[in-house]
């Protein structure tokens, strides 16, 4: 994968996504975007700004409120040779389109023995902390890992957002790109030119020796802050941004576990049958003897995301919860 970047500058997370979309649509005329209020309006979160003007109405499709319908349409277009990029306004709305996503898109390649080619991207944004309540705050990535057939990536910075959206578009498989509403306001250094990240890589974002915190999406930033606080208490936490939840980057994961022997996993979605549970199962299967202690987790609550601020905050990962659990890992 390539980064032909003359230099970087500081831009926002959604601007970075918008750059990736412009770049990929200019590169390949089969790429098109489809979703609600993405064209004339430029996207509820501005990630598709300027695309209609640049690429015209055949490649920037405003839809009615018909997620199941337009994801099905995107699938058909993909099978007919296009490379659709769907914007799903909230992750929570995936639930009205689950048959299309999990019974159709995710299964098409395998169950047709490869006859169907489905280079289809679904971009969406999830997550809480904003008082958006139970139906507008979910992180649902685990559902899309459990039912096989999709690659799933979760960019945590503007640069990663640009690189992973571009990488997802170039990938020849169905890819779910999970953005986070808390990140939409974030700014960061982003390569100016072509910037395409591979899918399937994890990154050590902070080196440490006492334990590893595996995390992704917005929670990465909480984990990095927690690592800072832990450092002040003399605890050296390594922080790994998983970034790609399917496929997982086992060499990076394994290297870190083998180094620290203690593991904490932090994510915002609920714990039961969640990403943390999945990692725990696989880590202990693959390297039980490397573990000096149980793997602990900081996850979202096993409850719908509550509205009231104090309840919402108590139910979601926080720096202090990560710090406390990291310390518990060392006991």
């Amino acid at each position: 994968m390539s980064t032909v970047a003359t230099e970087t500058r500081t831009i926002g997370y959604t601007a970075a996504i918008s750059e990736a979309l412009h770049q990929e649509m200019a590169r390949d005329s089969n790429v098109f975007v489809i979703g609600e209020d993405i064209g004339h309006f430029g996207g509820m979160f501005r990630a598709t700004e300027g695309l209609l003007e640049a690429f015209g109405e055949k490649r920037v499709i405003d839809t009615p409120i018909s997620e199941s319908g337009f994801i099905g349409i995107a699938l058909g277009a993909a099978m007919a040779g296009k490379r659709p990029v769907v914007e799903l306004m909230f992750f929570d709305f995936a639930l009205v389109a689950m048959d299309q996503i999990l019974n159709q898109v995710a299964k098409a390649q395998y169950m047709t023995g490869g006859m169907a080619k489905v280079p289809l991207v679904i971009r969406t944004q999830g997550g809480g902390y904003k008082g958006a309540a139970a139906q507008h705050s979910q992180m649902l990535e685990a559902l899309f890992l459990h039912v096989p057939g999709l690659k799933v990536v979760c960019p945590a910075t503007p640069a990663d957002a640009k690189g992973l959206v571009a990488g997802a578009i170039r990938d020849n498989n169905p890819v779910l790109v999970v953005e986070h509403k808390q990140l939409y306001g974030m700014k960061g250094e982003v390569p100016e030119g072509e910037h395409v990240l591979p899918l399937g890589k994890a990154y050590v974002r902070r080196e440490g020796t006492d334990l590893t915190i595996f995390t992704y999406s917005y929670t990465l930033h909480l984990a990095l802050q927690a690592a800072e606080e832990l450092a002040a208490s003399g605890i050296s936490a390594e922080v790994v941004d998983l970034q790609s939840l399917n496929p997982l980057d086992w060499s990076t994961i394994q290297a870190s576990v083998t180094k620290t022997h203690r593991v904490l996993i932090a994510h915002e979605s609920p714990g039961r049958c969640g990403v943390g549970a999945d990692l725990i199962a696989q880590i202990q299967e693959r390297m039980f003897d490397e573990l000096d202690a149980p793997i602990l987790r900081v996850t979202g609550g096993d409850i719908p995301v509550p509205f009231a601020q104090n309840l919402e905050e108590a139910s979601l990962p926080s720096v202090s919860r990560i710090v406390a659990q990291a310390k518990a890992c060392l006991e």
Binding site: E36, D37, H40, F41, M44, D62, T63, P64, I65, S66, S68, G69, D92, F93, L95, V96, K130, G131, A132, A133, A134, Q135, H136, G301, I303, P304, P306, F307, A308, Q309, N310, L311, A314, S315
Partner: protein
């Protein structure tokens, strides 16, 4: 303005409609301020310019009739009788809220007033309301059930499934569609080819009627007929209430990027509260002023009480999942 068939107490009835409209307006004005001041979390979807529909519609309903609404449905909730103080406290996420602060504005629910839930998912509550109608039929009751949704909701498949079953089973349902010409920033003409929404009911054999949604009396009249029909076991009705939100889709949308100033101005000239004031006439000016003052006071009191109320207890975080 439509004439109203309510026997006597004409004026009293009309003043009741007026009160609901200004209560809604007063609440929205206060909520807007709270949201700007950072005291109200989350999205705030207002119904400014659409006040006549909830007022007229709920005047035709009984307390035990069931109903569901959307994120924009607080006007119905109040007009149906749900306690303002509880509603406001919920919107502000207080322990004293209707739903203990756990749901917030999008999930206001109070079955004791038939309110089977506001909803954050477009179309998400349509089936729920039909379930209320099914329960009425099972009970051999004369209760009716209503669901309120917008023009854009007819593009969500679930809505069609629910419409079809309500018609098939001849249920006492009222599908009240607020056609405000936009779904978020998308004009109706960019979301469906058939923009006369009543025509869509041909697919289900549901009687469909379009009404001036900025006239509370007209809304009341069509609702009254639909309710009466439902109570008699004569099946569902679809009502398209033509209206317009003169505000944006939610607090961060000025509503001007996708609509012309001329269009907005045209509808503002038809805004239901001022229009109804004109209808009620100068002779009632004093009463109207008093109602306005009262409603502002009631709303302020509710907001102040809510602001003074405690946040939910963290000890209750896990409660209410299972009973």
């Amino acid at each position: 303005m439509a004439t109203v068939s309510k026997p006597d107490t004409q004026t009293e009835f009309k003043l009741g409609l007026y009160r609901q409209m200004v209560r809604l307006r007063a609440l929205e004005q206060r909520l807007t301020k709270l949201s700007r001041d950072g005291q109200l979390r989350g999205s705030l979807h207002l119904a400014t310019g659409q006040e006549a529909v909830p007022a007229g519609a709920c005047a035709a309903l009984r307390k035990d009739d069931t109903f569901t609404v959307t994120y924009r449905g607080h006007g119905y909730i109040l007009a149906k009788g749900v306690d303002l103080n509880l509603v406001v406290a919920e919107i502000l996420g207080r322990a004293t809220g209707l739903n203990k602060g756990k749901g917030g504005k999008m999930h206001l629910t109070d079955p004791s007033y038939g309110l089977l839930g506001a909803n954050g998912i477009v179309g998400g509550g349509v089936g729920t309301a039909v379930g209320g109608a099914l329960a009425s039929w099972m009970d051999n009751s004369d209760r009716v059930s209503m669901t309120v949704f917008g023009d854009g909701t007819l593009n969500q498949g679930h809505t069609h499934e629910a419409l079809n079953m309500a018609a098939l089973w001849n249920l006492p349902m009222i599908f009240l569609c607020e056609n405000n010409l936009y779904a978020e920033m998308t004009p109706l003409s960019r979301s469906t080819k058939v923009t006369d929404l009543t025509q869509k009911m041909a697919a289900y054999g549901i009687e469909a009627v379009s009404v001036d949604g900025n006239d509370p009396l007209a809304v009341y009249e069509v609702m009254r007929k639909a309710v009466e029909k439902g109570r008699k076991g004569k099946g569902p009705t679809f009502i398209e209430a033509m209206t317009y939100r003169t505000c944006g889709h939610y607090q961060n949308d000025p509503g001007t990027q996708y609509r012309t100033p001329a269009e907005i101005a045209e509808w503002e000239a038809q805004a239901p509260i001022a229009r109804f004031e004109k209808h009620l006439g100068a002779k009632l000016a004093a009463e109207l002023a008093q109602i306005n003052a009262e409603e502002i006071k009631v709303v302020d009191a509710a907001v102040d009480a809510a602001l003074a109320a405690p946040a939910p207890s963290i000890d209750d975080l896990q409660k209410d999942m299972f009973v």
